[in-house]
Symmetry: C2
Subunit: 121 residues, 2 copies
DNA sequence: CATTTGACCTAGAGTTGCTCTAACCCGTTA
DNA sequence: TAACGGGTTAGAGCAACTCTAGGTCAAATG
């Protein structure tokens, strides 16, 4: 699979995938005889996880650490679990933040007085 | 009130407050005879709203637009309401994203096998 | 009275995490 | 044959901070 297809499959832009590779956040990617990257389903699975992690605010630094552990394989499982569990915790507080903000917005919107039908058109 | 106090009250760093002022996202801020900014409770209220908007991912561009409308006052209410309502909508989908990611993480963590007591220490 | 401390000021450099451009290569297709 | 549609790299540009350097001033301290 080439980069465009991988991009569509994982949700990251081709720019971002190349950037992540340069930044050492991806496992080895083989090249075809044409010099183009060849992505396996395992790569796509990895990219998809990274997509979720970045989309929900994990830093590149942490993602790099996570990838490094995966490369070492075996020994790093405990720390990888810890990174993901820690991130899951931050997601909980992010969700609370969003809820809080939604209520702040609701109050603010209400403070503008009742909506006029005309405004919505 | 000076900048440090305002910063503590609204949640934005003093750097960010100054940056927001330079970027035209704040109403006029008066200066004391010492040249230092003087923040009123209204400023703090405004900064706090901006804090929530940025913390939940609104772009500076949109925040600038929002501030511009507030400066004009009166006529802009409809569009301001629309901006906030639109943002409230994006928060809903963000919240759905987080939930989705939380379940992705739970599956991934489970795939590492049962946690060892030793790992948690 | 002199100086040092601390809070503020500005301009501008540095950082993170992309995002895009320029210039190039290579295989197919008209 | 040349031009099109992918891919490649290096590096510039951008958003949104974040911090540093060098300065002012007011109050506290030696």
């Amino acid at each position: 699979m080439k980069i465009t297809e991988a991009s569509k499959a994982c949700g990251l832009s081709v720019y971002t995938i190349r950037f992540y590779e340069r930044s050492g956040m991806l496992p080895e990617i083989d090249r075809g005889s044409d010099g183009h990257r060849r992505f396996t389903p395992r790569h796509v699975e990895w990219l998809t996880l990274l997509y979720w992690l970045r989309e929900t605010g994990m830093s590149l630094k942490q993602m790099r650490r996570f990838t490094t552990l995966a490369k070492e394989d075996g020994a790093g499982i405990a720390e990888r679990r810890q990174i993901l569990a820690g991130h899951a915790d931050t997601l909980k507080s992010k969700r609370a933040m969003l809820e809080k903000c939604e209520s702040v917005l609701a109050i603010k919107i209400a403070s503008y007085g009742p909506a006029h039908e005309e405004d919505a058109k």
